[in-house]
């Protein structure tokens, strides 16, 4: 073979040989070329082809120093460019083929760490029941009327646990090898040549389209859905909660593993060719999917606000916040600005949503309109819901302290608005805004309960109701160290004073009139021979006392004080006033009755009978009409 003067390379491949090789593999020209892939052949074949390409390239760049004429030069250039085009078209196909062979979507299961960590929060009533305000509370109260068993077990046992699991499967960036090293070497070889021949754009196109399909397939595997904002607004919150959970898990995998690995792959293949190229390929691959991923979180962040959404949205917020540093690392180039910006925007909207929801919650608590009085004066479902809610809030204290930065908006002192309670925030200057909100929530809860207490016809049960509910509030606060710390012991003392006051008011309302029967005045008649006591008056007293006591007993046995300790204390307090008074009354006046006719009609009960009867109070059960009597 003759050696043309231009070829001066020492690679052992002369120009015509190179040209022949390229033409042999021209898939538009030969059937054989179409049937096989170069890179499937043995290594020698591959190397020969690559050297052939190099040779053509070389001759193109050395054409200018040859001694041939301008025309010939021009002709050569044109020929070479034709050959190069054939080579590039071929290499493009080879490139695509290698990528395709090694395209496997990510296996989600193999990526997750089996030892995910969980944290539990238990609540009395599952917030998952997404209680909403208004009618639902009336319905619940009515349900309680039918279901007295539940009332007893009310607060003591944690009937359901609300599990709040956080997936720690992917806690940091972890690149995996998407393509084996050999294949990467091949891809590098091809890419380098395509780019130095000026076929950079084709290279990016091929790369992007194959890898993007792979990412799309991985997305499907991870269960990342394509949902429109309209769809999301229409879904029930329960369904959305599940999706959010799934999204959090998927997003961690996408950003820390999938995208990070794609980035690494680009860097590997286009190593040493310049960062603009590997960046362009990376963007081609993941820009669309990344936006699709974030669109879901964005849709959630703009959804309508309602109280039950708070905690899931906080979860989403925290998860995203956790991801932001990794997002910054993975999307560090100028061309991915928009993605970083979108993530930051979503985070900020989620924060806004949290603030808005808290505000909605406060509003809803204040205006909760249910009017059906809770039977037995026991704890109102609203109280439970609100206290559980704010207990959960205190669990999310870390995040919320950062997010809640302004004081509660309503309720300045002396606002003169009768539908809103007053509260002086000045007293509580040193507290965090979050703590102020929590205190405010308790204030408005009480305010609302106070309004509800007025729906009872009877002052006694009205007070009992307030006592029960405020006591419950106190217990819940005491039961949570974070909550207690935020509410503060001063306020706790104030609340304690309030329920004690209610207890006192209850006692007054019920027992004053009963004990009035046992007073001394009006029984003594002056100038009478028989010991100075009016027997008729005395009989009246006994009869009245019996009737009253029976009435009170019958009624208030069906009332309920769920907290056993409080119940005991109240009974003891009643007994302390009732028993000695009765004992003394009996002691002084029984002889007068017993000396008359049918004493059993008047002295119906012994002291022990009364003591036993008191034990029936506030159990929530009706008792038989007649008290047990001691056998005569």
């Amino acid at each position: 073979m003759e050696q043309p003067p231009e070829s001066g390379s020492g690679s052992g491949l002369v120009f015509e040989e190179a040209e022949k090789i390229i033409l042999r593999w021209d898939s538009t020209a030969s059937e054989e070329a179409r049937e096989k892939m170069i890179f499937d052949c043995d290594r020698d074949e591959v190397n020969r082809y690559l050297q052939a390409v190099d040779e053509i390239q070389r001759s193109m760049s050395t054409a200018s120093i040859s001694s041939t004429s301008e025309d010939q030069k021009s002709n050569n250039k044109v020929n070479n460019s034709a050959t190069i085009q054939i080579a590039m078209a071929r290499l493009e196909d080879e490139f695509r083929n290698i990528l395709l062979i090694h395209t496997t979507p990510i296996e989600a299961d193999s990526l997750t760490d089996p030892s995910s960590s969980y944290s539990f929060h238990s609540t009395d009533e599952s917030l998952d029941e997404s209680l909403s305000f208004g009618e639902t509370f009336d319905a619940r109260v009515k349900q309680q009327q039918e279901d007295e068993e539940q009332q007893r077990e009310g607060i003591s046992a944690d009937s359901s646990s609300f599990s709040h699991s956080s997936y720690r499967s992917t806690s940091c960036i972890r690149e995996i090898d998407l393509i084996p090293e050999e294949a990467i070497n091949d891809l590098q070889c091809i890419a380098g040549r395509m780019i130095s021949a000026g076929y950079l754009r084709e290279c990016i196109q091929v790369y992007g389209s194959v890898r993007k399909s792979a990412v799309d397939a991985s997305f499907r595997r991870l269960g990342i859905e394509k949902l429109s904002i309209g769809d999301i607004q229409r879904l029930e919150w329960d369904a959305l909660e599940t999706k959010i959970r799934r999204w959090i898990r998927a997003a961690k995998i996408c950003i820390r593993i999938l995208f990070a690995s794609e980035k690494k792959l680009c860097e590997q293949i286009f190593e040493g060719i310049g960062t603009a190229i590997d960046d362009a390929c990376f963007m081609e691959t993941i820009k669309g999917p990344a936006i699709q991923l974030f669109n879901f979180a964005e849709a959630i962040s703009i959804s309508r606000r309602s109280p039950e959404k708070l905690f899931k949205i906080l979860d989403l917020h925290d998860a995203l916040m956790d991801l932001i540093p990794d997002i910054e690392v993975v999307f560090d180039s100028k061309s991915s600005d928009s993605i970083r910006v979108q993530a930051a925007e979503i985070l900020s909207r989620l924060a806004e949503a949290v603030r808005g929801i808290l505000s909605e919650f406060e509003n809803a608590v204040l205006r909760e309109p249910s009017r059906v009085p809770v039977p037995g004066g026991t704890i109102h479902p609203l109280t439970r819901y609100v206290m559980n809610y704010i207990s959960l809030i205190s669990d999310y204290k870390q995040t919320l302290i950062e997010l809640i930065v302004s004081k509660p908006s309503a309720g300045s002192r002396y606002s003169g608005d009768p539908t809103t309670p007053d509260m002086d925030f000045a007293e509580l200057e040193a507290r965090t805004p979050l703590a102020l909100h929590l205190i405010w929530i308790i204030v408005i809860l009480q305010f609302n309960l106070d309004g509800k207490s007025k729906h009872y016809k009877d002052a006694s049960i009205s007070n009992l109701f307030m006592m029960n509910n405020v006591h419950y509030i106190v217990q819940k606060v005491k039961g949570s160290p974070e909550l207690r710390e935020m509410i503060g012991d001063d306020y706790l003392r104030k609340l304690t004073g309030q329920f004690r006051q209610a207890a006192t008011s209850y006692q007054r309302a019920t027992w004053v009139k009963v004990l009035y029967c046992l007073r001394d005045e009006g029984l003594h008649v002056s100038g009478s021979f028989s010991s100075g006591v009016s027997k008729s008056a005395l009989r009246e007293r006994f009869k009245t006392f019996n009737a009253m006591f029976e009435e009170v007993h019958r009624t208030e046995a069906t009332w309920l004080v769920p907290d056993s300790q409080l119940r005991e204390e109240l009974r003891i307090s009643i007994s302390e006033k009732l028993i000695p008074a009765y004992r003394s009354f009996l002691g002084r006046f029984r002889s007068h009755i017993e000396s008359g006719k049918h004493p059993e009609n008047y002295i119906k009960y012994s002291v022990e009978d009364l003591e036993d009867a008191v034990l029936d109070f506030f159990e929530g059960y009706p008792v038989s009409q007649h008290l047990r009597r001691r056998s005569q």
Partner: protein
């Protein structure tokens, strides 16, 4: 008086304490209301004058539905929206939003807002396919700029042109975008290693499966009814105006940019001709509608002016590449050089303009979200909670 678009970024609620239910006497304000209304209509009308392209295409004029024109369209929307919100919220008793007719109209507007958000997302996504065409065109430019023009470069250009023409002729059905990869080396198949080309959807839409742009637009025009004269609160008219503007803007975007499922896109809108402020808008509607009808028959990728020109150039250049043989006629080569120059110019416009266009659409997105949130807050606080299906 008309405020630039970005001045209204801050929340209105930060400035007026709506929660305090400031009740302002309606009597003294009625005149003020009428004046505000007049101003608003004039403002809208003025903005649309700016959008109507002049008869002669001067160098500075932006052709209808070009990238630059779309950006101005979005600016128009933002301005009108600012004014509208001011009208709706400032200095008024917030409880008016729950009284008729607003109690029906506002939720409808909110419904349209949500659809607009989805359209914004779909259009942003669609711009990626425009960008894809740009990249293919850049290959063509790069190839055909080489001198002397040889068979190699022309073949290269032809390959890219085929892909380009195919991409632009694609229909909008979900994920059915034909990609260059389907024309591997002029139809070569990889023997029995056929990797299932059917699964090859590199340009699949990132929107929900059954989402349809044309259906969204259709739904937005439902209940878009001009209020009759003599409405009690006079706010029904601004709501209608804003809704009409919103629908027009979204519709124009969808007509221009390829996005999922635009077959059956409405070309007619129920905006009565006699409304003064709407004249220019109706004129634009008709123009664009006409173009759409023409194009729909041919199944093209969208009315974006730059894409239209690219398509024409692409067809012409493909013919050239198919009939070329080195060295080619001088006259023809000159003509081609001019066309390539024009194509390069289009690519440049896209390179410079597509990103800002996307950013602006995002701005519109944010604004719509913000307004919707604020209106929802007002609805919450006026005590009447609308149905959660929103």
């Amino acid at each position: 008086m008309p405020l630039p678009a970005n001045e209204y970024q801050g929340s209105f609620l930060g400035r007026i304490s709506i929660r305090r239910n400031q009740v302002i006497s309606m009597d003294g304000n009625h005149e003020q209301e009428m004046e505000d209304l007049e101003l608003f209509q004039k403002h809208v009308a003025d903005r649309f004058v700016d959008l109507v392209s002049p008869a002669e295409d001067t160098a500075s004029a932006e052709p209808l539905l070009s990238i630059a024109w779309l950006r101005r369209l979005l600016d128009t929307f933002l301005c009108c929206e600012s004014q509208f919100k001011a009208l709706l919220i400032m200095g008024r008793d917030p409880s008016h939003v729950v009284k008729p007719p607003l109690d029906r109209l506002i939720p409808e507007l909110l419904e349209r807002s949500v659809k607009s958000l989805d359209i914004c997302n779909a259009v942003c996504n669609g711009i990626e396919s425009v960008r894809h065409c740009q990249k293919l065109a850049e290959i063509v430019v790069s190839a055909l700029e080489q001198r002397p023009m040889g068979d190699g470069q022309v073949k290269r250009a032809k390959k890219a042109l085929s892909a380009l023409v195919l991409a632009m002729a694609a229909d909008d059905k979900e994920g059915n975008h034909k990609t260059p990869e389907r024309t591997w080396s002029f139809g070569r198949r990889v023997g029995n290693k056929d990797r299932g080309e059917g699964n090859f959807r590199s340009l699949s839409w990132a929107v929900a499966k059954n989402w349809s742009a044309s259906k969204q637009i259709q739904a937005m025009t439902n209940n878009l009814v001009a209020p009759r004269g003599g409405e009690p609160t006079g706010l029904a008219l601004p709501v209608y105006i804003m809704s009409a503007v919103m629908v027009f803007v979204m519709w124009a975007l969808v007509a221009a940019i390829p996005c999922q499922e635009r077959t059956g896109l409405a070309t007619h809108f129920p905006v009565p001709r006699q409304l003064g402020w709407a004249q220019n808008m109706i004129g634009l509607q008709e123009k664009i509608g006409e173009e759409w009808k023409k194009k729909e028959k041919k199944g093209s990728a969208g009315l974006l002016e730059e894409m239209q020109r690219m398509e024409k150039l692409g067809q012409s250049l493909i013919d050239f590449t198919e009939s070329f043989s080195f060295p080619g006629e001088a006259e023809k080569l000159e003509e081609v050089a001019m066309q390539v120059g024009e194509l390069a110019d289009i690519c440049q416009k896209m390179e410079v303009g597509l990103m800002p266009l996307q950013q602006q659409i995002r701005e519109v997105f944010h604004r719509v979200v913000r307004s919707r949130t604020e209106v929802l807050e007002i609805l919450e606080h006026s005590g009447k909670v609308p149905s959660p299906i929103m």
